[in-house]
């Protein structure tokens, strides 16, 4: 029973520790950690689809990038845009895009689904790459970060790194607890049922398509939240943020950490971003750092071949616990 209490309180402890991080007063690491936490939101949103609903999307970067572009287009050149309405607008547009494409992509299954999600993400890529709408391949700068005011008082000043970091941490924790809640509900249980045996769920009377669409839209909205925050952090958007490399990277995070566990997505985001930093560190690897993607590619292949349950599965192995799902991968 102690074990249960420990694992229940662990997320709070982690959040508490993370909240104190800016006290170390290291701009570099606070920025890095902000990036990690943003990616954690992004990875959790994909885990909802891949790990819980059984939908392998290879176009999840579309929502990440779309929300960033929404912010960039809303942000006027000289006056800061209000976070109060620009964030809901960005998320809302992502949800709408997810609903529209979801209606189409959810008509397909398996390999088709993977290809079609990728293709629609790529369509969006070309919209921003080829047209003048989003500044073409150069992208757009976001000169002033959004403001978060209540009346005349500034609640959060996003120009200040510490405050931005806390906002990101708040959003990450919020996403985690929101998804935990949802996955524990009747709705979440139905999603898991669909992942394991879609046909039986239908025979039991569940309108599977609607559940999948709801999950797809929710994942799109949360992906948008991550993309919005990322755009605030980096101060510019370009088509690369919705390229398929981004979709591949986030899928890697989900699997690396252990899909279908939620905290696995967070661990995966940590591991992936840190790995990326280390491998591309010129001080350590010199000229090889330029080709860090080679090492990353090999690592991704090794994970796919030898670590299908990710780091979470590895930990289970060491603790000699049986994996949570008896026949993972057999449920196709």
């Amino acid at each position: 029973m102690n074990n249960v209490r420990f694992s229940r309180s662990l997320p709070y402890a982690v959040i508490g520790l993370l909240a104190m991080f800016p006290m170390l007063d290291s701009t570099f690491y606070t920025q890095l950690l902000s990036k990690v936490l943003i990616m954690a939101i992004f990875a959790m949103s994909l885990d909802l689809l891949v790990g819980y609903t059984g939908l392998v999307s290879f176009g999840h970067a579309a929502y990440f990038g779309l929300a960033g572009y929404v912010l960039a287009l809303l942000a006027a050149k000289f006056e800061a845009v209000s976070l109060w309405w620009s964030l809901p607008a960005a998320i809302g547009i992502c949800v709408a895009f997810a609903l529209a494409t979801g209606m189409l992509v959810l008509r397909t299954r398996g390999i088709y689904f993977i290809m079609v999600t990728l293709a629609f993400a790529q369509m969006l890529f070309f919209v921003f790459h080829d047209t003048k709408l989003g500044g073409g391949s150069d992208g757009i700068y976001i000169y002033t970060k959004p403001t978060m005011n209540l009346g005349d008082t500034v609640l959060v000043n996003l120009e200040k790194l510490d405050q931005f970091y806390w906002l990101v941490l708040f959003c990450t924790a919020g996403t985690y607890f929101l998804l935990r809640r949802i996955l524990g509900s009747s709705f979440g249980r139905a999603l898991m049922g669909i992942k394991v045996n879609e046909h039986r769920m239908r025979a039991l009377g569940f309108p599977v398509f609607r559940y999948q669409l709801a999950s797809f839209a929710l994942a799109g909205g949360l992906g948008g939240l991550a993309g919005y925050l990322a755009a605030v952090q980096f101060g510019f958007v370009n088509p690369e943020i919705l390229s398929w490399h981004q979709s591949g990277a986030v899928l890697m995070m989900v699997i690396l950490g252990g899909m279908g566990t939620l905290h696995g997505a967070v661990i995966g985001a940590f591991a992936f971003v840190l790995l990326q930093e280390v491998l591309s560190n010129q001080a350590w690897f010199g000229i090889a750092a330029k080709h860090w993607q080679l090492a990353m590619g090999i690592l991704i292949m090794l994970v796919a071949l030898y670590l299908p349950q990710g780091l979470a599965g590895l930990m289970n192995k060491f603790q000699r616990k049986p994996p949570p799902e008896a026949e993972e991968g057999a449920d196709v």
Binding site: Y112, I114, A119, Q122, L294, I298
Partner: protein
């Protein structure tokens, strides 16, 4: 739009479509027969183009370069199937996606290490470096016609291979019933290796012959890959006939789109795909 101009665009569209067919036929065969998704298929196209460029600059002759490069790509395909893809046939698509995504990164970096990140041009072979005059100031390059001819020949050969030969019979049987084929004593593993190598060689060959037309650029693989996914979705997984129909459709749509509505040309293929998904989610020639 006058007739000569229209004719040129038509020929260009067909040539582009036929080239797409070379790449996507291998992709759809591998999907249909082995049931695996291969994101790295575009990399084979890129490898073909770079091989053609580097061997052509060594030997001074594109034809020689292609003859040298084809066996290399077949060996590459066989090695990849034996070492990597074989382990994925029984696995969830998720891991196929992840592994082949990793493979793309590896290919991209190896390309950067071996050949660098520059854009290169390949000269059209002297023999084919001519134009057929259509009107006073419009003409059509012979090399493009030659490419279309070669692609058509290969498409016919592929049709003959699949429909008329014993190997093709085994391939078709393997696509519909793996256990049955194995119980007949056919070496399914060998067939898989051959089909995969065929797919790699076709994609690479497309990259080689197209090298003189479009420059050899680092990210040429990924664009082709996505378009080929759209081809496979429209044509239907595993259907070579569907790949042909969809390739020509997209080849023409893109070519005419670039001329008539350049602003939205990039999106036309996706709109086509969306229409097909609404109308026939299993693709034009797909099995339900």
């Amino acid at each position: 739009m006058d007739l000569a101009f229209f004719l040129i665009q038509l020929l260009n569209g067909l040539q582009y479509g036929l080239l797409l067919f070379l790449v996507s036929s291998g992709l759809t065969l591998v999907f249909g027969i082995m049931g695996i998704i291969n994101l790295a298929h575009g990399s084979f196209y890129m490898v073909g183009a770079y091989l053609a460029w580097s061997l052509a600059s060594m030997t001074g002759n594109l034809a020689t370069a292609i003859l040298l490069a084809i066996p290399l790509t077949v060996v590459l395909g066989m090695a990849l199937e034996r070492l990597l893809f074989r382990h994925l046939y029984s696995r969830d698509h998720l891991y196929q996606v992840l592994l082949t995504y990793g493979l793309i990164l590896v290919f991209e970096e190896l390309r950067s290490l071996i050949w660098g990140d520059d854009v290169h041009g390949v000269a059209v072979p002297a023999l084919l470096n001519a134009s057929i005059p259509l009107t006073e100031n419009l003409s059509y390059p012979v090399y493009r016609l030659a490419i279309s001819g070669v692609c058509l020949l290969l498409a016919l050969a592929l049709y003959f291979l699949i429909q008329k030969t014993r190997l093709g019979m085994m391939i078709r049987a393997g696509a519909s019933n793996r256990d049955m084929v194995q119980s007949l004593g056919i070496d399914i593993k060998l067939i898989y290796t051959l089909v995969f190598a065929l797919g790699v060689a076709l994609a690479a060959f497309a990259g080689m012959i197209n090298a003189p037309l479009s420059s050899v650029t680092p990210n040429m693989g990924s664009h082709v890959l996505i378009i080929c996914f759209v081809v496979v979705v429209i044509g239907g997984i595993g259907s070579v006939k569907g790949a042909m129909a969809a390739s020509l459709m997209i080849g023409l749509a893109e070519t005419f789109g670039q001329v008539l509505v350049p602003e939205v040309a990039g999106m036309i293929v996706y709109v086509l795909m969306a229409i097909v998904l609404v109308w026939r989610p299993e693709g034009l020639f797909g099995r339900k």
